[in-house]
């Protein structure tokens, strides 16, 4: 019983650390691309750790599957939106490239 709780706490603390790092990155990094990098990479890793911690704590396979699916869909959504934002920014910076491609 105790071991389970210790594992949960460790996983969630590690997850919170990555969230903190990601947030610091968003606040401190100079331009949009590096901010996106911090936001999507570090925060998704942090969410993964927290999800793993919750799954260990609940210790039921169905709930763990639901938590895993939350993580997977967050990954999908954040990577897609990251790509779209980055693409938009790139087009704004170099409009002549966009015309050539079309």
């Amino acid at each position: 019983m105790m071991i389970k709780e210790i594992i949960t706490v460790i996983l969630i603390v590690v997850g919170c650390f990555f969230f903190l790092a990601g947030t610091l990155g968003v606040l401190r990094f100079p331009d949009l691309f590096s901010r996106l990098h911090a936001l999507t990479k570090a925060d998704n890793l942090g969410l993964g750790f927290i999800a793993a911690g919750m799954a260990v704590y609940i210790a039921s396979p169905w709930a763990a599957l639901k938590i895993l699916s939350i993580w997977v869909f967050t990954l999908l959504a954040s990577s897609t939106s990251c790509y779209l934002i980055a693409r938009f920014q790139k087009e704004q910076e170099q409009p002549e490239n966009r015309k050539e491609q079309e």
């Binding site: 331009d31 869909f73 999908l76 897609t80 779209l84 920014q89």
Partner: protein, 327 residues
Amino acid sequence: MSILIDILLAIIMVYLAIQCLLTPRLIQSVFLFFAFGLGLALAWVRLGAIDVAITEAAIAAGFLGVLFLDALKSFAPKVSVKQDNLEDIYKLPRRNIKSLILPRVILVLGLALFLFIALEAVWMIPDGGGLTASAEALLPQSGVEHPVTAVLLNFRAYDTWLEIGVILLGLLGVFVAGGIKLYKKPGASKPDPMLRQVILFVTPVLFLFGAFLLYIGKTGPGGAFQAAVLWGAIGILLHLGGKPIFAMIPRWLFHLILTMGLGFFLVLGFLLIADGRTLFEYPPAYAGLLILIIETLGAISIAAALTAIYANLNQMEEETNEVEPTT
């Protein structure tokens, strides 16, 4: 210890709300509004209102936030988003400061007084006991096991019925304000290939998850509105992916889908009155089945209406000079 979380959450919500209204840039304001909605959703969870939390996160923060974000492109259309002039894109010219001081002071004093009264009012509000006991006593007859669903679709079904009507009225208002653009396919929308793949993958999952929420409403948090927002999200995603489903199907079918939730409710109410009951007093033996049918039809109607609202607002600025033919 857990009360600290509540205090922290309350401070964050108040800060976000103030900051949302004070920040000079509109885009920041909209994103703070997203954050405020999610904070409010957390507050619902802390208060044990999971149904409300799902609804808030999905429709108030999600859908409404998307509408606001979409509106930004129409309010500042001609300025390109570059790093240098990002600061003053959404700024308005300053007003004459001197003429503002007296009204501002009066307003702030009035608000402070009002705040004091409101705080006093919520602090002193008497304990009336609420309706929990009567809801609990009637729950076995309602046909569902989850009290919130029982209230929404059985005890106070006329609320839900008229609510579907209000959404349709909102859609009619959007049609009137913007011209009925939904029937036309969007012209210049060229979806990104990656976005299209993701939409293709996500659409069936969203549909399944909506159906799950609809069905789980019988026994736990979930139900028609939450499912409707997820299905509405499918419509919005398909619109973004260049496949506006409601522009593709015949017009009569679209109208049928929009009105079938309201219509089924109405017909059912009349049938129940003809049977010698009051409006929406379901026979207990069929209550569960009737509620499931109503929820499904209502959810599809609401989803269609939300999609139509989004699509119409999204295409509002296209073809500005063309006058819509009225028939």
